[in-house]
Amino acid sequence: MADFQTNILLGTVLVTLGIASLIGRWLRKQPSESINPALVRRFRQRLNAWWLMCAIMVFGLLLSRVGTVILFGLVSFWALREFITMTPTRRGDHRALFWALVFFTPLQYILIAIGTVHIPGRAAAMDLYGLYSIMIPVYASLFLPARIAMAGDHKRFLERTAQIQTGLLICVYSLSYAPALLYLPLKDSFGEPWQRSQAGLLIFFVLVSQLSEVFQWTWGQIAGKRLIAKDISTSRTWEGFLGGTLSTGLVGAMLWWVTPFQVWEAACMSMVIAVMGMFGGLTMSAIKRDRGVNDYGTLVMGHAGVLDRIDTICFAAPVFYHLTRFFFS
């Protein structure tokens, strides 16, 4: 289903990652006096996560878009597991948690994978967007507190409810908009139907969100002075945020050719992704600080920490999706 432009982009990303991995291997062999080993380790962890993302893209695109939806669903499931494991729940939340993890998470992705249904007796096919865009924020958010109340434990009730709702919203609902991009019938900004595959758009989105993280971090290292919130993150600065957002816009503009956007539109979209990415990173840092963990990965030793890697994507996906749906669909 991927077309020529998408293949070119994916190929470029793979080659770049390959080169970066070689550099990472070379860095690891360097004596620890000349280079900070903690930094090298973080670099290699990042690279591994990016390889995994690429694998999901390639694997999913080769299989079909349903494959991509399933893989994103597994990532959601794992992220929600990490989220709930980290937050303190009580005995009375057990059934509600079961519903959240075993019912609502798969259902959200099943609805996205089905896309549209034909109801006999009706001419037009029903777009399930109307259901999956409100299922978690409305129905799950009403059902879960009721289920917790039925369990009969009122201690810290609002707090516990909010934890589960936030977990579902960030890890499942928001992330699910990324694969939902594959089901959008697109048009360009002149209103002409866009003939090429949506896979390019998904890859554009994931790539730009990851690049925005890298740019914001790099600009923060080079020019960072004023911290955005010093008690929450010691690495996020206004300079990093501004420089990173502008650089992301620039690179995004240069990638306009895989998307239905024009150059300036691609730049704007990329900057929106960067801003949402900063929001995501800061929010997840706040949650981590509150729980007293540095990385979701160290929460349970040896786990890769899925949540650490997808915070940008989670926050940017719904906004990117809705902007695209509104203006280019």
Binding site: H94, R95, L101, V102, G302
Partner: protein
Amino acid sequence: MAAVAHQSVDKPVVGGNEPRVELTPLQRLTGQSITLLARFFSGFTVRWIDCQPDMCQRVYFANHTSHLDAVVLWSALPRELRKLTRPVAAQDYWAKTRWRRFLASSFNALLIDRREIKVHQSPVESMLKEIGNTYSLIVFPEGSRAEDGEMGQFKSGLYYLAKKRPDLELVPVYMDNMNRILPRGEFLPVPLLSSITIGAPIWLESGEAKSDFLTRARESVRALKDR
């Protein structure tokens, strides 16, 4: 004892006091599936701290908060050790139906009657008889599952095991988060993540009093919580 009588059906005694467990292919397959399911539902990470996997005879003793504990700890061991390790499980639960008996035999469970304990056929005696010179044990010295995640007092079985077989390595294990995955009174597990910490073995010191030893054993498990 009914447990022994039942197990003698599919576990022929070979050579003196060393009973070998021969599993049928179906039991082996079930065992593998149980391992995979346990891995999925508990998402565990295993850490060996000051202790390495070894074929020597051991008693792994852990805190007990969930029905899944025995199966999960057994699944967390390397494959070669799983064959040689028998979780001790309650006979009143696991021998109740044919299906449960089959499951128990697939993960190599050693069923102990915790209701009718007689002097000449104490659980410790039958455990020692069953493990011979080959098997290791997984025990939960609290006896029953803790209600709120806080560890209860250890029952004396561990002490008698150590006293009668001073050569057994007593390995403390701390299992974290299992009470959230399948708490008491629930039957559907919520697949969260958990961690299993396996610590340095302890032994019964010569002349150590029973209560001192049990307190020390309990502390060795509790200390792993913060490692």
